[in-house]
């Protein structure tokens, strides 16, 4: 059965002129999924999320959250939403304790047990004055404020900014926990690793345009491992080139790619893990002077797409 869409964005355009803004965004986020938004600085990640929060009104198109208009019904939508803003600065209320207390009152939150467990998990000293907190500490406060009421939908704008690696793992754990409870998460990031660890679907944006949208299964089945190697001589380079061309031709399913640098006698081959044995059998015929591997990651996927785009 097809799951219902929690977030529906249709032909959303916000033109800030001089090429800035977002243009004709259309995408859906399914209930219970984690959706990642990735893009360079200024590509429109924050603008997209601000529309969902009803902070800005698009020039055209619509944003609907569980069927409600994100701008017109902003107050109702927020009953369902937890938000980590991209810009972290707190109201002028003294300590972390009083900030969280006022925030809980605004949310109508009565049960503080989950909030307290989050504070323990993220190791926050909430009695500290807000303006003395470090960047990471402020970020953790923001995460607690967004998660403490356990809403159905999370909108997270670069939630891991400023967190140390351990805390980033805690955050990822938390996101996955919430997903397991059927919650929907929409997050932006430029850290590929955390999106890889959490997202069911990732959307790439660049200069205000959607470049590509991939499901986890898609990028995971795409060429998986990448090997770079250098052969010993010119003669071997030419032979190897032929052999690899034949190898790729034999599997014309588009899952393999090869880049060459003649001057260095270097090859870079991307291939699915299932072909590794054959590949190494081929390699064993040559004198390989250097061999390295890299994970075929989301990052690689992204940079390849962007590079192709800039060339085209």
């Amino acid at each position: 059965m097809e799951k219902e869409n929690v977030i529906e964005v249709e032909h959303l355009t916000k033109d800030y002129k001089r090429g800035r803004g977002i243009f004709d965004f259309t995408f859906q986020v399914k209930k219970g999924s984690v959706f990642g938004l990735i893009g360079t600085n200024g590509s429109g990640k924050t603008t997209t999320i601000r529309h969902m929060m009803g902070f800005i009104k698009g020039d055209s198109g619509s944003v609907r959250i569980v069927g409600m208009d994100a701008w017109r019904d902003a107050a109702k939508v927020k009953k369902l939403v937890g938000y980590v803003p991209g810009q972290i600065d707190f109201p002028d209320v003294g300590t972390g304790t009083s900030f969280l207390r006022i925030q809980a009152e605004l949310l109508g939150l009565k049960d503080f047990s989950y909030m307290n467990s989050l504070i323990d998990r993220f190791k926050i000293d909430i009695t500290a004055p807000l303006n003395r907190m470090s960047k990471g500490m402020k970020q953790k406060m923001a995460v607690v404020a967004a998660f403490m009421a356990q809403p159905d939908i999370y909108l997270l704008d670069e939630p891991s900014t400023g967190l140390d690696p351990l805390m980033r793992d805690t955050l990822i754990e938390l996101i996955l926990e919430q997903k397991a409870e059927g919650k929907t998460v929409f997050m932006s990031s430029h850290v590929f690793k955390e999106l890889e660890d959490t997202c069911d679907e990732v959307m790439f944006i660049h200069n205000g345009h959607i470049v590509n949208q991939v499901k986890r299964s898609q990028y995971e089945s795409d060429p998986h491992e990448t090997y770079s190697f250098i052969v010993a001589s010119e003669e071997e380079y030419l032979l190897c080139r032929e052999a690899i061309d034949r190898f790729i031709q034999r599997y014309q399913d588009g899952h393999m790619e090869c880049w060459r640098r003649h001057r260095h006698h270097q090859f870079t081959v991307a291939l699915p893990t299932t072909r590794l044995n054959e590949f190494f059998a081929l390699l064993s015929q040559f004198t390989v002077s250097k061999l390295g591997s890299e994970q075929y990651s989301l990052e690689k996927y992204y940079t390849t797409i962007i590079e192709r785009r800039e060339v085209a």
Binding site: Q87, I88, D89, L106
Partner: protein, 256 residues
């Protein structure tokens, strides 16, 4: 249409400066009213200048914090990520600025009434310092209430204008720039016009560039009605600016 938690937050952010300025105003007033040396200057200096200047300082600082500074810093995101309508935010902030000014004047009024009841000021003395002659009798409680009321509505108008700038601009520098210019020019021109009333006629015309002109203690002391019409104009300015600011805030794009 009022959010108590938000109100509490606003009080926390602005409470201290209000307490300090209210205390300074009340102490100055009592001092002017009690000391024989300064009694003749009570109207000229205190009601003429201080009763505008001190609330203006509070208005300038607090109104910027109501919206512009919070939007500029991004902290408004926390308030608006909870199920609260923007109109509710606007009304709560409006309530704060109206109530604090009202309370400030209630306190000074009570202080003055208490001091005056103990030792009523002669109007002849009060008028002499302010350049008004021919007054007889003593300063009455009714007059004190009227003078403070007249000052209060003008401060509300000033506060409305600053509230509007704060609600319109997303950056503190613009909100403070416009409000500061408006309040600064008004208070300064009011002071210069004071010298005008003392006989330096060339300075008299400064009253026309100041909103404080709508505050008219002279007409109250001389038993006139001018202050009522002027007060009504001030009140109208307050209503219009508060409404424009609130509506603008509800409709604008917020970079949060």
């Amino acid at each position: 249409m009022f959010s108590f938690p938000l109100f509490k937050q606003t009080v926390k952010a602005n409470g201290l400066i209000w307490v300090v300025l209210t205390a300074v105003t009340a102490i100055l007033l009592v001092q002017f009213a009690v000391l024989e040396m300064t009694q003749n200057l009570l109207f000229l200096i205190f009601y003429g200048v201080m009763a505008m200047l001190l609330p203006a300082v509070f208005i300038l600082i607090s109104s910027n914090k109501l919206f512009a500074s919070q939007v500029d810093r991004g902290s408004m995101a926390y308030v608006l990520s909870t199920p609260i309508r923007r109109s509710k935010v606007a009304l709560t902030q409006m309530a704060f600025s109206v109530l604090t000014i009202a309370l400030m004047f209630v306190i000074t009024t009570i202080a003055h009434i208490a001091v005056n009841a103990n030792d009523p000021l002669s109007l002849e003395l009060a008028g002499s310092g302010a350049g008004i002659t021919g007054l007889t009798g003593d300063l009455t409680t009714e007059m004190i209430v009227k003078v403070n009321l007249s000052a209060m509505v003008v401060c509300l108008a000033m506060s409305g204008v600053c509230y509007m700038f704060s609600a319109i601009f997303n950056q503190s520098k613009y909100s403070l720039g416009f409000s500061g210019t408006f309040v600064g020019v008004s208070v300064l021109a009011n002071m210069l016009a004071m010298f005008g009333s003392l006989g330096v006629e060339a300075l008299e015309n400064f009253k026309y560039v100041s909103i404080c002109t709508l505050y008219d203690y002279q007409s109250i002391l001389t038993g006139g009605d001018d202050w009522i019409i002027k007060g009504a104009v001030a009140l109208a300015i307050a209503v219009v600016t508060y409404v424009v600011g609130s509506v603008w805030f509800c409709k604008k794009d917020l970079p949060l």
